[in-house]
Amino acid sequence: MKKIRLIIAREITSKLTNKTFLVMTFLAPLLITGFLGVMIKMTQSEKTEQKVLVIDESKLFIDKLSGNDYISLSYSKQKLEDAVEQFSDKGYTCLLWISPNIIEGGAGAIKLYYKKSPGFAFQTYIKDQMERIIYENKLRANNIDPNVISNSKQSVKLILEKVNDKGKPEEQSSFGMFGFLTGALMFFFIMMYGMMVFRSVMEEKTNRIVEVIVSSVKPFELMLGKIIGVAILGTIQFVAMGIITIVLTTTLSSIFLKDATVQLQQFETQQELVKKNGTNVNLNQLEKFDDKLELFDVLKKINKINFTEVFICFILYFIGGYLFYSSIMAAIGSAVDSEADSQQFITPVIMPLLVGYFIATKTIIDPDSNLVFWGSIIPFTSPIVMMSRITNGVPLSEILISLSLLFISFIGTTWLAAKIYRTGILMYGKKTSWKEIGKWLFYR
């Protein structure tokens, strides 16, 4: 036991002083935060200021198109040719030309001239308004009051409510995307630390120091010390990364999402109001958050996530999944002489992990399917798939079964791996095959 401690300590200190390891610990949270930032950014519409010069030869839209905080419109009776030449000199960002026969339709009826590409949001904004105006015009032409039409329209919202066996509602935040991300992170972590064990074993073998060491400790002790050492290291790194990420995201979100959080609260009080008072509320007095709904949705889902549960499960599944795979990786590391030979052995080990990853993508669209369920129970894929399911609310019994299966199989893989490892580390110069490894299992 004392010797295993020595091996664990060496494994940890040798990596902790490694520059790449330290850089990685700080870089990964930056990447994660950046990724989250980009995701949130994408839900928000762009706000580039647009000054639009409109030449409306149909006279249909004059003073009817409206701007907003960052879009302003002015009308002109200039000739198109002159306007095209001059609009940007006069400080306009683009020129909207509407043909006289727009109401009859036809391609090229409206043209937007620009120097710097106008955003998609802006284009939709203008297009929607014009379509609405034409639509109302045509209705009036047929003596139909547009208000009748719009009052007859009603939007329907589909509210999902999961119930348990007793028919009671169950708290659920079906944030598939978040689940998938934690699953993907698990895939990445297991791979990374598994490879770390693989390299560490192979390094000792190719350095030829391994024979000196196994003359002092049992090969099994060496392998176990290594695996435990990297596990501790991984947990330290994960916690460090977690803390850095949390600090980074909270600081950044308090800066960049401050408005959004306040607005979300406003939005929620408004919704409460509408729920309580029904249509008696003057809807026009309420602030409109149409362009923010998507962001609110994400924020609401994030708020609903039980981070403690996710965190604890992540650590448990990481340890289980890592132990399960790292012992196999150790066995492979012992069997090869160089990284070049290792590919044929590593690929079959990564396959089940990849399968887990693909099942995790399925959780986004179909979290309660059989495939996802079994994927989260079977040890080969359970760490990844269960993590992707966890935000959808998984019964504790399923988590316990899946975790126990994982840890029991870890004992199995370690037992097998130890047999391969013991022989493998002392085999040099021979190209190893699966058949050969199979024979090693039966050596004394």
């Binding site: 020595l6 390094e203 000196v212 003359s215 002092s216 090969p219 013991r422 050596y443 004394r444």
Partner: protein
């Protein structure tokens, strides 16, 4: 002298070949023991079993009368044929780590490391990484980690291969000193020169079986073949006439009017009679018995086992 190691009927099998077949050996305490054999004979397999890196399929090993158990690794120092150290680790950390794996306390390991570093004049290397050291320097570090826990049994697999002559000499001296202090040394080698000089006893292993063992001087005595080499000036014909049927001439040649004869004595002919045959007609310049070297015996025995016929062994003086 009691045996530090008793190897009884050890057999080790791998899937497609037998590495050791029913090998028994006794290794006396405080001696230098040579484990000889061609490459692939099974020497390293035996050493790994003694080091408890692998287990035998059959047979047992007693260390000082006790069945070999994990606590014994602390009494054994092992220098494998394939040597290596952690390249990125500093010399000091590395020596401490390996010493503590052999059961030394941190303080004790530090003390002994200081002793060895001073002895081999390498204090200034302590902070250096192994990859920054020359091959020769690395070899010294490797030797220190083998002996730092003062093992009672030292196992050296091909200790002189890969070491430069200066380090080889250094190690030779250290080995003799360790023996003087009471350690037993097992050498595995096919370098016969070192065997004659250092070993008290040997065992010869070929094709996974022991084919010869015993004290070096006894073995050489057994393999004496009553062969002498004589050189003289003068009448060759007179000499051969006098010799008559007393000896068979194995080799003869002449250089600068000096005649060299290698003669195997027969029919109870003695060395004195051989000299008397020469004295009347010739001026004798040199005369000595040719005792087979371990190298000769090694080649002879191995060829015998492998049924190679017609290979003439060379005799050295």
């Amino acid at each position: 002298m009691p045996n530090i190691l008793q190897i009884n009927n050890v057999t080790k099998r791998y899937s497609n070949h037998v590495a050791l077949n029913n090998v028994s050996l006794n290794i006396p305490e405080k001696s230098v023991f040579g484990l000889l054999g061609p490459n692939g004979a099974g020497k390293t397999s035996l050493i790994r079993i003694i080091n408890q890196i692998t287990a035998p399929d059959k047979g047992e090993i007693l260390f000082k009368g006790q069945k070999l158990n994990p606590s014994h690794v602390e009494s054994i120092g092992y220098l494998p044929e394939e040597r290596g150290l952690y390249k990125k680790m500093s010399v000091g950390e590395q020596v401490l780590y390996l010493a503590r794996l052999k059961g030394l306390s941190k303080q004790e390991a530090k003390k002994r490391m200081a002793f060895w570093f001073e002895k081999l004049d390498m204090q200034s290397w302590q902070k250096k990484k192994i990859e920054e050291l020359s091959k020769g320097m690395q070899q010294k570090v490797q030797f220190i980690v083998t002996v730092i826990h003062e093992p009672e049994l030292l196992i050296l697999d091909e200790p002189f291969s890969g070491f430069d002559p200066i380090n080889a000499q250094l190690i030779r001296n250290e080995i003799l000193e360790l023996r003087k202090k009471g350690a037993t040394v097992i050498f595995s080698t096919h370098n016969m020169g070192s065997v004659e000089e250092l070993c008290d006893n040997i065992a010869l292993i070929n094709k996974s079986e022991k084919i010869l063992d015993g004290a070096v001087k006894d073995i050489r005595k057994t393999y004496r073949s009553n062969t002498y080499k004589i050189s003289f000036k003068g009448n060759v014909l007179g000499f051969t006439n006098n010799l008559w049927s007393g000896g068979e001439v194995l080799e003869k040649y002449t250089e600068d009017d000096i005649h060299y004869f290698t003669i195997k004595l027969q029919n109870g002919f003695t060395s004195n009679q051989l000299l008397q045959a020469a004295l009347p007609t010739c001026e004798v310049l040199s005369f000595n018995e040719l005792i087979p070297s371990m190298n000769d015996i090694f080649i002879m025995k191995v060829n015998e086992e492998n049924n190679v016929v017609g290979t003439k062994s060379d005799y050295t003086e």
